[in-house]
Point group: C2
Chain length 458, copies 2
């Protein structure tokens, strides 16, 4: 560390309470990155474990005064490298900001950024209420990270993504000012929609220090269908046909490789021979759910499903979803991961899943595909031997090919994980130079010194 670094760390210590500022390399090491394993994280000069909005403001003021980059982070469960430390930065951890208050009459939660997604769900449930967004990582990802990436999940196909549940935000700006955006009303068009500009901005425009999240009544118990196909393209077509006539509560796809990974990880009796497995739910309620599941069964049959099972037992249904949720954990075990998050329009799903199979073969790389099929959002999960440079090169090429395919199909490079570092090189291909330039100008308004998570995103 240079003497300049030491001064900044000293200044941070002088304005923050004992224990908030950490420079011990062993501790700091655990805060340098997220789950994007192919990204090389830098070494920060200090870790700030903020306990309050005032802590965040104090840290930002010191950073602004010395023009030190700040990398905000939640639980570190991100998959795109958005929380990767930069050499010489301050890592600003929000994990200790754990306010969690439910207002049952107002049907909202006031939540600190460090609160784990599952804890919000649990607290809401005690009042018969529900916070829908459910990334597969919901047991260990934080609301702050969910907001930073506009996280989705399994139930989004019917219930929308994180931004759809944000009533209000408290944000600390690059200069240390705290502002409040939005309010407690469901509809609000007073002023620009700045709230939604911050959601999904991956820590590049400000640091979200509190969110007021809308809660819903708990939905009726779900009925579930599982269908297997010996052709993944046919499964993709079944998804489009289901979406054309109803709004399922969940509509997930797993390909053979991901089913096998899960089955090896935890014996569940899944069909490891099927080319694709669909898991779908309806929670419209009572007889209507049963009818919708029957309609899905019919559609699956029309598209050549080799096996269909349905259940109105919520626990059994939850078990099928659990298989889907375990996919990432089991795939992480197979090798070095490189995880896609592409999305395509609803009528291009079959082309995407078929194309990914081709790309895997062409680049001799294992790609296991799981995804929120009803939203057209897929996670082709590339796995390779990290010690084999040739394998790594093939995986990188396959990664780029999948992204190129998604864009060719009028799709997106990221549906819910964020751009981070992993997808930053591809962003301009999607949004174009003019929009990227406008994005940079807007960032410059809010962060004129470019100290908030620089080098990511825009």
């Amino acid at each position: 560390m240079t003497s300049v670094d030491v001064d900044v760390v000293g200044e941070l210590r002088s304005v923050l309470a004992d224990g908030v500022v950490v420079s011990d390399r062993d501790v700091v090491d655990a805060y340098r990155g997220d789950r994007a394993e192919t990204v090389q994280a830098g070494w920060p000069i200090a870790l700030v474990r903020a306990t309050s909005t005032a802590d965040v403001q104090a840290a930002m003021r010191v950073a602004a005064a010395h023009r030190i980059p700040v990398v905000p982070r939640g639980a570190g469960s991100g998959l795109a490298g958005g929380a990767s430390a930069i050499d010489g930065c301050i890592v600003l951890s929000l994990e200790r900001m754990l306010r969690l208050d439910i207002d049952p009459a107002g049907m909202y939660a006031v939540v600190g950024p460090g609160v784990i997604n599952a804890d919000v769900k649990l607290a809401a449930r005690e009042h018969g209420l529900w916070y829908p967004p459910d990334p597969s990582s919901y047991t260990f990802c934080s609301i702050g990270g969910n907001l930073a990436t506009n996280a989705g999940g399994l139930c989004c196909v019917k219930y929308g993504v994180t931004t759809d549940y944000v009533l209000a935000l408290e944000v600390v700006l690059a200069d240390g000012r705290a502002i409040r955006l939005g309010g407690r009303t469901i509809k609000d068009v007073a002023g620009y929609d700045l709230k939604r500009l911050f959601v999904g901005s991956e820590g590049t425009l400000g640091v979200i220090t509190e969110a007021t999240l809308r809660l819903r009544p708990l939905p009726p118990a779900a009925c579930t269908m599982v269908a297997t196909f010996d052709d993944i393209v046919a499964a993709g077509r079944a998804v489009s046909s289901i979406m054309a006539v109803m709004r399922p509560a969940t509509l997930e796809l797993m390909d053979r490789a991901s089913v096998n990974a899960v089955e090896n990880y935890r014996r569940m009796g899944l069909d490891t021979e099927a080319a694709a497995t669909l898991i779908a739910q309806s929670d419209s309620g009572g007889a209507q759910s049963v009818e919708e599941i029957a309609a899905m069964e019919r559609i699956a049959g029309e598209h050549g499903a080799t096996f269909v099972a349905t259940t109105d037992d919520p626990d059994e249904g939850e078990m099928f979803l659990e298989a889907r949720r375990l996919a990432f954990a089991s795939l992480f075990d197979l090798g070095t991961p490189l995880i896609e998050d592409v999305g395509v329009p609803i009528d291009r799903i079959a082309e995407l899943v078929g194309g990914v199979e081709r790309i895997a073969a062409e680049h001799d790389t294992l790609i296991a595909t799981v995804g929120h099929a009803g939203d057209g959002n897929f996670h082709p999960f590339l796995s390779f031997d990290g010690n084999d440079p040739a394998a790594a090169r093939r995986a990188e090429a396959a990664f780029g090919a999948v992204i190129a395919l998604a864009l060719e199909l009028d799709g997106t490079i990221t549906g819910e994980h964020g751009v981070g570092l992993v997808k930053a090189p591809y962003l301009v291909d999607q949004i174009g130079a003019d929009v990227l330039e406008i994005s940079r100008q807007i960032k410059a308004v809010l962060d004129p010194q470019n100290i908030l998570n620089p080098g990511k995103f825009v």
Copy 2:
């Protein structure tokens, strides 16, 4: 007109086809304002009736070169004065941009800003699809205006507002460049959410020249409940109780004054004695809808409803909704209108509707309240004798008092109509000076000369 004006008009004529540029005062007069009758509209130097994105670009380039304000407008059905002309401006009408293409497989519509909301619904329905947002003015408001204000409507309580259906936008910027935002995927977190920054920006950041709108499958036919109360506060409490346990497809409130206005306008056999009437629907489907309507009936009873009727006949249900939709038309007949659009949190509804009754009495002003009660979004409709200055002053004071009450209840000054001119003076009270300043800075990025609808909004 000064010689400078004439030059600008001549320049517009030289770059635009015959008939696009109009300076005839009789024609222009009809394009000077919207339905905010208390606003004094200025006189433009010219009206441009654009037929294409290229027309809009050409007009913006001329305006930018001469620093002439541009007031974009759709169908002129706005209620907040957002489309009021400014002296010396160019009024840019989008009413002739009428592209309307439905892609049934992709489940989206590509729509020009001049297309009437109802025409999108109709075109979608031919393919078994649905465009939900339904302002009461849906038969005569345009998609461009809906996007400019982020319009809501009756079905938003379950299905969301305009911004929730925008997949992509084409926008012409102040300098004449055209950009595209978003795409065709349902989930997309690639880059900042600029699409949603333009939605609701009331023509101050750019001119929306095309929108790709998401369509849904048609929902099941709705069941309907109508309940009357002899106490409007009790009706408000019933609304909160319903929202706590389910998501109705519609949940509207009409007070006695609005029911009477409708009944005088068109004899429908409504109960003109009731203090408040609730109209609610469930479209969960089949038996589930019947069950939900029964639950609503129970809740209405618990809150002292004096009369409840339910029906599973969609036509009969539509008739009740029609009464609600006629409220504005019938209230416009009563005198000079001044229309609120306040929103409050779901648990403050009873306080708002009770407070509005008090304010009406205190200011000796007729206030008829209708509203999207399930969203907490209400339209207290003030009506006064425009020829009586004292009555106008009382109405203005009452208007301010309702806004102050909404803010006191943690509410918003506008839920779906927009800020426009009518609510511009109150905006800072809601969002604060810092956020207003940031909004201005963001506008300056996109419109450095402040030529896009200046003087409104920010």
